[in-house]
């Protein structure tokens, strides 16, 4: 007779088979059978302090590891609190599997205690969702969920698990190793070779080619291969905010971030190019202020894994659907002869001419200079997590990326993202280290090899720094408890300007300094907050102290909170 296991045990068995090592979440009765089953395994449970941050932490985990991030919360308010986390991941195409407890199947639709129609509520920002009605569906649902989340255009998948399904018995099963067969889902990975050749011809003809990279490069793990391609063919590169880090900031072919918050040289390159290749970028409103203008007098190639993005905002001359990494692998096979010396020297001259001087003062810290100095002082492969607001704009414009990464909530602009995302990224590195310690190198799976290429091997984990303003900080400062409790040595810099700075800046221009709903006062006392959570604290009060304080801040492997005293009247537009 077949052995029977519970639905909760079944789902955890599937998660283990998918290589899940960490789950971020919150408890509640409706998800308790699940956590009970998780507790019987070696999966690390990280209890965040509000459900939204379970989504952000899973997002940080996914971005740092290139695996699927997993979070689990209870029904009703737990699930609705998670919604912003899901929507944030959806806007940036981050692969997540989000598990929500649900009231008993028989009670569905009766508005019982802690019931919310989360599948309905999340519909417009999940890639797909499941309400499990029979425990026997669990192996298929989990298999599909991980496949959907991690392929094509990545994104969050929701699994809603009624309480009785978690407790019901089902026959034990073998988890399938095969790609699930779904007639409605066949993502295009390989680019059409005819189109690729067309692009190659244009590259040979072009006098002023330019590649504009979006977040898709990081999502597909195409960074190394893109670099090889542009180095070999001398093609200049710019990036969107989500694409930051595709090339090191100092790379001679890299000309900065585009868009209304971007670099003059990068926007000049976008305008002047005669062949513009957009890769893994949506051509969204913040990156290109009026999409149609870009097109005049140039050939536009739009590569994206999501066919619906191509032509959504601009009509391309050559559309190319596929995964960025696979497409650039095909490009590397083709012999190209790009003549770009003149074009590159023009851009290089511009770049040199646009280097700005930083003004320093005895009263405050110059935010732009701070971001530059901080990121320069960070380790080679460090991860910089920017929050949302003025700090995000100062960050993306001044950050110096070496071989590391830059994370931020780009599409959704969700305040409070940086601390939980940094927590998730650190948890990812710790899990990877743990796994490496267990695995003999020769036994490494193909998946692990890919991860190894992305995450530098070695016992030392990456340095992770979150930068936020005092507004965003207060949206997720409860997570300092997680930092301390789980001993996650992340660094947190709070740009304290006593305002919701970016909106204040908007009201400065739009309403001539009539400020409403933007004054945060002098609260909280960050030194006391740090002390309350058992975290070391350092204050940077003026520019002359910068190097020393940044040195203290980054010195050793323990969590640290740095208060940065910045001018409340700072403008990002300067």
């Amino acid at each position: 007779m077949a052995e029977y296991i519970s639905g909760a045990d079944a789902i955890v068995k599937c998660l283990l088979k998918e290589g899940v090592d960490t789950i971020f979440g919150y408890s509640g009765v409706a998800i308790d059978p699940f956590w009970n089953s998780v507790g019987k395994t070696k999966i690390r449970q990280i209890l965040v302090r509000t459900e939204q941050n379970a989504g952000h932490a899973a997002s940080g985990y996914a971005r740092a590891s290139r695996k699927v991030g997993v979070c689990a919360v209870t029904s009703g308010p737990g699930a609705t609190n998670l919604l912003t986390g899901i929507a944030t991941a959806f806007a940036d195409s981050i692969p997540l599997v989000c598990i929500t407890g649900q009231v008993e199947s028989d009670c569905l639709g009766q508005d019982v205690f802690q019931e919310a129609d989360i599948v309905g509520a999340a519909e417009s920002f999940v890639k797909y969702s499941y309400l499990v009605k029979n425990a026997r569906d669990i192996p298929r649902v989990v298999k599909e969920a991980f496949y959907i989340a991690s392929t094509g255009r990545r994104g969050p998948v929701l699994i809603d698990l009624p309480y009785d399904i978690q407790n019901s018995k089902m026959p034990d099963f073998d988890y399938s190793d095969e790609i699930p067969k779904m007639r409605t889902y066949k993502p295009t990975v390989k680019g059409n070779l005819v189109q690729i050749k067309k692009v190659a011809e244009e590259l040979n003809k072009a006098k002023r080619p330019l590649i504009c990279c979006g977040g898709g490069i990081h999502l597909s793990g195409a960074r190394e291969i893109l670099r090889e391609f542009v180095d070999r063919n001398s093609i200049p590169v710019v990036s969107t905010m989500m694409g930051l880090g595709v090339l090191p900031s100092s790379h001679p072919l890299y000309f900065g971030m585009v868009g209304n918050n971007g670099f003059r040289t990068a926007n000049f390159a976008m305008r002047e190019s005669d062949l513009l290749i957009m890769v893994g970028a949506r051509v969204a409103d913040r990156a290109v202020s009026s999409p149609d203008l870009v097109l005049e007098g140039k050939v536009l190639v739009h590569m994206d894994v999501d066919p619906a993005e191509i032509g959504k905002n601009v009509g391309p001359t050559i559309p190319l659907v596929g995964d960025a990494k696979t497409i650039f692998e095909d490009f590397l096979d083709l012999k190209l002869s790009c003549r770009t010396e003149g074009w590159i020297s023009r851009l290089t001259e511009q770049k040199a001419a646009n280097v700005k001087a930083y003004k320093t003062s005895d009263e405050y810290v110059n935010q732009a200079l701070f971001v530059k100095k901080l990121s320069e002082s960070m380790e080679e492969d460090a991860i910089y997590v920017a929050d949302v607001g003025q700090n995000q704009l100062f960050s993306c414009r001044n950050v110096v990326i070496k071989a590391g990464r830059f994370f931020t909530s780009g599409g959704m602009g969700t305040m409070g993202y940086s601390i939980p995302a940094a927590i998730g990224a650190r948890a990812a590195d710790e899990a990877l280290k743990e796994r490496r310690a267990r695995e003999e190198p020769e036994e490494m799976t193909e998946k692990a090899v890919i991860e190894q290429n992305e995450v530098k091997p070695g016992d030392k984990m990456r340095q992770i720094v979150a930068v936020c303003g005092d507004g965003a900080f207060q949206m997720s400062m409860c997570e300092l408890a997680v930092v301390s409790q789980y001993k996650l040595p992340i660094k947190i810099a709070v740009m304290k300007n006593h305002f919701l700075g970016l909106v204040r800046e908007h009201q400065h221009f739009a309403y001539h300094d009539q400020y409403n709903m933007v004054d945060l006062g002098d609260f909280p006392d960050l030194k006391l907050i740090a002390k309350a959570y058992g975290i070391d604290y350092v204050r940077l009060s003026k520019d002359s102290e910068m190097e020393e304080r940044i040195g203290d801040f980054l010195a050793d492997e323990r969590p640290m909170l740095m208060e940065v005293n910045v001018d409340p009247m700072d403008l990002t537009t300067l």
Binding site: S124, M182, A308, G311
Partner: protein, 160 residues
């Protein structure tokens, strides 16, 4: 511009709301929408008529294709297809206009399917244009209620 989307979807609960939700979220128009099972019980066909500029109509198709419950989409214009709409109209009649209503029905190949002392129910099954014309022809009399199915459509046999 009008376009007809014949969409084969998984016959599962919630699919209609997902498709309808997509239209509302992205501000696409729905001129009409009909759903029914197909010869395969696991598959339903939705016939959606929408209007908009070329880019919008293309986006509708692409966004529908992204929905994981959508199996296949065919799009066609009204000229490539045979389209029908079923309409039931309840009207008030009296001695003076009874004859005229019946003549109109005859001319339009509509049937009177139910009747009482002062009400009659007319059924018409025809192209969307002719059902619209029927409403116009009856505009002079007192219409009590109208129910319409929306457009059903299949591509012409020769197009296969």
């Amino acid at each position: 511009m009008k376009k007809i989307y014949s969409v084969l979807v998984e016959n599962r609960s919630g699919v209609l709301s997902k498709v309808a939700g997509l239209f509302s979220r992205r501000s696409f128009n729905i001129d009409s929408l009909t759903v029914g099972e197909t010869e395969d019980k696991a598959v339903s066909r939705m016939t959606i008529v929408s209007s908009g500029d070329e880019r919008t109509l293309e986006q509708i198709e692409k966004q529908l294709n992204k929905k994981l419950d959508v199996i296949k989409i065919k799009t066609f214009s009204e000229t490539d297809s045979v389209s029908r709409e079923l309409m039931l109209i309840k009207v008030k009649y009296n001695k003076s206009n009874r004859r005229e209503i019946m003549e109109t029905c005859e001319a339009m190949k509509a049937d009177i399917v139910d009747m009482s002392k002062n009400l009659m129910m007319i059924q018409i099954c025809d192209t969307p244009e002719r059902t619209a014309l029927m409403i116009k022809l009856l505009s002079g009399i007192s219409v009590v209620e109208i129910a319409r199915t929306g457009t059903l459509s299949l591509t012409k046999c020769e197009a296969e």
